[in-house]
């Protein structure tokens, strides 16, 4: 993620200019596979989804004479937005983010700082061990966690019960899903933070040491502010990813009655398409979700760019 060094583009520009002079054949050839795939798996499906979202199926009488497809304009969008269940899905996402973001960011930052500190031993081992959960496919992880949550079969719940504590995670799906996500993503984001920490110029840290800052002070007042950009970026990707929440709750859905069929916006779209055969509504709710994600990324990018530009000016 951090490998695309921006400073390299000016260095290559003379060669790029040569290619341009030689004609458009070669670049077009190299770009074609990407553009073809991009069109086939991105543009066409998006266009088709938008198209589907404008139609609905109608029957007459008792409905046993088959259906006809009719144009409804933004009717499906109005239905999705007017459905309390769809709006509740966004509420779920907000609750999820409020719990998930601080816990996951805090943990991965803490672990990265610990690994970066002079005291850490066996850094490679811990890095690998912490990253390992991310290598487990999400659906497998969700299945295993569901098993661990289920009273009557889970050794964890049983141990807690015998210790007098009663844990009902199946009845509280938000913390249940947050726990799965934290387990899966903490190590991954730790790697990003750790890489950013490693890139901090050593002289800055030496200066902090000279000024008499202890390890804790260095971490909080020097290191964390210096990697704020990565923290923001991870937070942004996490929020956008959270909008897509699907796999974990879908696995829980079959086992935890507290998870409803429209628990997240993605599940709402899934249920509309594959349970209710209402492709128009499913497409409309997906498009709305995509728009929400796009708007969110735009706002966050704007906000963070403004801040880092200001900082760049200040340091210049």
């Amino acid at each position: 993620m951090t490998s695309r060094a921006p400073g390299s583009s000016p260095k290559h520009s003379p060669r790029a200019a040569t290619v341009r002079r030689r004609g458009g054949g070669a670049p077009a050839l190299f770009l074609a596979p990407f553009l073809l795939l991009f069109a086939a798996v991105m543009l066409v499906p998006i266009g088709y989804a938008v198209y589907l979202s404008l139609f609905t199926e109608h029957s007459s009488g008792l409905g046993f004479g088959g259906t006809e497809t009719v144009f409804t304009g933004f009717g499906n969008y109005a239905r999705a937005l007017g459905d309390a269940a769809y709006r509740a899905g966004f509420l779920t996402i907000i609750q999820y983010c409020l719990l998930y973001l601080p816990v996951m960011l805090g943990l991965s930052l803490l672990v990265a700082l610990l690994l970066d500190s002079a005291l850490a031993r066996a850094k490679r081992f811990f890095q690998l061990a912490l990253f390992l959960p991310h290598a487990v496919p999400g659906i497998i992880a969700a299945l295993i966690w569901t098993y661990l949550y289920t009273p009557g079969i889970s050794p964890v719940v049983e141990a807690l019960n015998s210790a007098g504590a009663h844990l009902d995670l199946l009845g509280h799906p938000v913390p249940a899903v947050v726990n799965m996500a934290v387990w899966e993503w903490t190590g991954y984001n730790m790697v990003i933070f750790y890489a950013a920490l490693q890139a901090i110029p050593r002289e800055v840290l030496e200066a902090a040491l000279m000024d008499g800052a202890g390890p804790l002070r260095t971490a909080l007042s020097v290191k964390v502010p210096l990697i704020r950009a990565s923290v923001t970026m991870v937070a942004m990707f996490t929020v956008i990813g959270s909008l897509q929440l699907f796999t974990e709750p879908m696995v829980l859905y079959r086992n935890a009655p507290a998870v409803v069929s429209s628990w997240t916006p993605n599940m709402y779209a899934y249920t509309a398409a594959f349970d209710h055969n209402d492709y128009g509504l499913a497409a409309a709710s997906s498009v709305l979700l995509a728009l929400a994600a796009a708007a969110l990324s735009f706002v966050v990018t704007r906000a963070t760019r403004g801040r880092s530009e200001r900082r760049a000016e200040a340091t210049a």
Binding site: A49, S60, T67, S230, Q244
Partner: protein, 448 residues
């Protein structure tokens, strides 16, 4: 990282946004592309039909058919059960015009498939002589708008499965005949064996509640002329929901999803001593508990309790064979479906697989089914005689609605609030509202 140029970031964000949209759209399209065409029928030689199903023992039935028939060859594909994704697969395939010639669909889902236009009208291929073979209640459910849309495989009369030893421990010598007795026995059982409950309320599965409402003479859907009358939260239904709500509130039954690990574990440990199910449950319960050998021989089957002590039953589940709209081999498909549902060979092959205890929709085949089912799990009890009486007591004139997936999902979603102040009664109210809204949205006429 802190040196990342400011220009790279927005581009990445746009990419992320685009990817977001792309993945969403993709997930829809990818799922539509599943399925297979399988148009291998040749002009000479046997006609090959494709068939999707999931009912227990189906592979054995197909094998037996293929071995004994020269004119038709069945190419069977096992799909996930309807609610576990099978129905989505079938309707997507139907939309993409590559559905199999024949597929299994439960009675409750048949109207939904018919109104989607996924099912072929087979009225001309179903003579009166064939119809007469099936239980009239089953024929009723496959006849919509006076046309035949499927052949019934089984009737699913309700039954009560219970652990004899645990009931005996609580001093219960005969299984409950009425719902009042069921409640009293639930209390006795909880008193005698504090960790054990008499049964389970299945919050993921409205079909049990539907069968119980049906048993109490509710009529959720009635087609009058070209208008649907929807009466889900009727007084008959409310009597049932209030009763179960009280059982839940008094902690006399468990609230666990059907066939979940939780439910299975609870049955295995003897923490749940009963199951309000249907005839097919005999085979399913047996195979679900196959890994706990000490359960064998301790289970028994009793008639489903009723409100007034007189036999009455709804139908819990039950499967039909439907021919897909686009199939050009309807005749061959009906030939196989007829064989599978009305011949001793067809039923014998299914039951002998050991996992099915379905109650044939053709009552003449009950002796065949009875002879083929090994009842050692039930201590040698003649479980089919219980089912025979229950089948006679299935109330007529029940009709399933044209949007049962919406009806059921609304109910399931409302059941999720059972642990946080919601009630079973509120769930049927929610279902009534959601169903009315859906039918209106589809352009159907509804009256309340």
């Amino acid at each position: 990282m802190s040196t990342t140029p400011t220009t790279a970031r927005p581009r990445r964000a746009h990419l992320a946004a685009a990817a977001t949209a792309g993945v969403l759209a993709l997930s829809l399209v990818a799922a539509c592309g599943s399925g297979s065409s399988g148009d291998t029928g040749a002009s000479s030689g046997p006609v090959t039909i494709t068939f999707w199903g999931w009912a227990k023992g189906t592979q054995d039935v197909v094998n037996a058919f293929n071995a004994s028939h020269q004119d038709v060859h069945v190419d069977f594909q096992q799909i996930p059960s309807g609610v576990a994704g099978g129905y989505a697969k079938i309707s997507d395939a139907a939309k993409a015009h590559n559905a199999p010639d024949l597929f299994n669909v439960e009675y409750a889902a048949l109207p939904d498939f018919v109104s989607q236009g996924a099912v072929q009208d087979i009225t001309k291929l179903v003579p009166a002589s064939l119809k007469d073979k099936y239980l009239p209640q089953a024929v009723e459910l496959t006849t919509l708008a006076k046309k035949s849309w499927g052949l019934p495989l089984d009737a699913a009369p309700q039954a009560l499965f219970y652990r004899k030893d645990l009931f005996a421990q609580a001093g219960i010598t005969t299984p409950p005949k009425t719902w009042d007795e069921y409640r009293a026995d639930a209390q006795k059982l909880k008193q005698a064996v504090p960790n054990t409950r008499i049964g389970t309320f299945l919050p993921d599965d409205p079909s049990t509640l539907e069968a119980l409402a049906w048993q109490n003479d509710a009529h959720w859907f009635t087609g009058i002329g070209d208008t649907w009358s929807v009466d889900i939260n009727s007084p008959e239904t409310k009597r049932v929901t209030d009763y179960w709500q009280q059982l839940i509130a008094d902690d006399l039954v468990r609230v666990q999803p059907s066939f979940s690990q939780q439910w299975t574990a609870s049955l295995q440990k003897g923490e749940t001593a009963g199951y309000v199910g249907a005839a097919w449950g005999g085979g399913v319960l047996k195979s679900t508990l196959a890994s706990s050998p000490d359960a064998a021989g301790k289970w028994a089957v009793a008639p489903i309790p009723t409100w007034d002590g007189k036999p009455a039953s709804g139908m819990l589940g039950g499967t039909t064979f439907a021919v897909s709209k686009d199939s050009k081999k309807a005749q061959a498909a009906v030939e196989f479906a007829t064989w599978a549902t009305t011949t001793p060979e067809g039923i014998q092959a299914r039951i002998a697989s050991g996992t099915s205890s379905l109650f044939p929709a053709d009552p003449d085949l009950v002796p065949t089914a009875k002879a083929a089912f090994k009842t050692d799990f039930y201590g040698g009890q003649d479980i089919y005689s219980v089912f025979v009486d229950a089948a006679k007591a299935i109330r007529p004139d029940w009709q399933w609605g044209p949007a049962m997936s919406v009806t059921n999902n609304a109910m399931k979603d409302a059941f999720s609030k059972l642990t946080s102040g919601g009630t079973v009664g509120a769930a049927v109210d929610a279902s009534q509202q959601a169903t009315l809204a859906e039918l209106r949205n589809r352009g159907l006429k509804v009256s309340r």
